[in-house]
C-alpha cells in the first residue's frame, strides 16, 4: 500500500459509510405511514436515501481508481459493521454476543473469499 493510496482508501470507506446511512434512512422511511404504495417509494427520505446511495457508488468508483479491486472486500466488510452500529443507534436493535460472533464469521468469510 502506497501513501498515495490512503486518501482513496478513505474515500472508499466514506462511500460505504454514506451507503450505510442511506440504509438507515430507508429503514426509517419504511416505518413511516404513507398514504399509498407509490408514496412509500416517492417520499423525501427514500428519494434522498437512493440519491445518497448513487453518490456512494460514484465515490467507490473514484476510490477504485487507485485502490486495487482485490481490496474491495474490505469495503463490503465494513458495511456490515456500520449497519449493525446504525441499527443499534437509531432503531434500538440490540448488539448481542451472537451478533458479534456472527459478524466475526461473516467478515472472516469475506476475507477468505478475497484471498
Amino acid at each position: 500500500m502506497t501513501t498515495e493510496m490512503i486518501p482513496y482508501l478513505a474515500i472508499g470507506f466514506f462511500s460505504v459509510f454514506v451507503a450505510s446511512i442511506s440504509q438507515a434512512m430507508l429503514k426509517k422511511a419504511s416505518g413511516q405511514k404513507q398514504k399509498d404504495l407509490l408514496h412509500e417509494y416517492l417520499n423525501p427520505l427514500t428519494v434522498t436515501a437512493y440519491a445518497m446511495f448513487f453518490c456512494s457508488t460514484l465515490m467507490t468508483m473514484v476510490s477504485l481508481r487507485k485502490v486495487p479491486l482485490a481490496m474491495s472486500p474490505m469495503y463490503e466488510s465494513s458495511s456490515y459493521i456500520f449497519v449493525t452500529i446504525f441499527g443499534a443507534l437509531f432503531f434500538s436493535e440490540k448488539i448481542t454476543v451472537n451478533k458479534l460472533i456472527g459478524l466475526g464469521f461473516i467478515l472472516s468469510g469475506i476475507v477468505l473469499l478475497a484471498i
Binding site: 419504511s30 449493525t84 441499527g87 460472533i101 461473516i106
Partner: protein, 134 residues
C-alpha cells in the same frame, strides 16, 4: 400465540428476502455479460438493461422487507449473495472454485445463522410474550 404467528410470518419474510438476494446476485452475471459484449451493441444494452431492471425489483422488494425485519438482521443476510455469486460464476462462466472460497462461504453462512439466531434472553422474552398471549 401472537409470538408464534410473528415467528411464522418472519420465516416468510426471510424466505422472500433470500429469494430477493438470489435475484440480486444475478446483477453480477448481467454486469459481466454486458462487459463481455461490445460497448453500445444490442447485447450490451440487453444485459445492462436487465441489470437495471433486476436492481429496480430488488430496491422495491428491499423496502417492503425492511418494514418487517430489523435493519441489521436483514442486512447481515446479504452475505449469502457471496454464495450465489460463486455458484453463478461456476455454472454460467465455468469459473474455477477454490477451497478457500468454499470455506469462506461456509464461514459467512455460519455467521449469518449466528447473527439471526435469538440470544437466550431474547428467547426468554419471546417465550414470555407467547405465554402472556395464551
Amino acid at each position: 400465540m401472537k409470538g408464534i404467528i410473528m415467528k411464522k410470518s418472519n420465516c416468510k419474510v426471510l424466505a422472500l428476502l433470500h429469494l430477493l438476494f438470489m435475484l440480486f446476485s444475478l446483477t453480477g452475471v448481467c454486469s459481466k455479460l454486458a462487459g463481455k459484449s461490445d460497448f453500445l451493441s444490442p447485447g450490451f444494452f440487453f444485459w445492462y438493461g436487465a441489470m437495471i431492471v433486476i436492481m429496480g425489483i430488488y430496491a422495491v422488494g428491499w423496502q417492503q422487507i425492511i418494514k418487517h425485519l430489523p435493519l441489521s438482521t436483514a442486512f447481515a443476510n446479504k452475505a449469502v449473495t457471496l454464495i450465489w455469486s460463486l455458484i453463478f460464476g461456476a455454472i454460467i462462466f465455468r469459473e474455477h472454485i477454490k477451497w478457500t472460497q468454499i470455506a469462506g462461504c461456509m464461514l459467512a453462512v455460519i455467521g449469518v445463522i449466528l447473527y439471526v439466531l435469538p440470544q437466550r434472553n431474547e428467547k426468554q422474552e419471546e417465550k414470555e410474550v407467547t405465554e402472556n398471549d395464551n
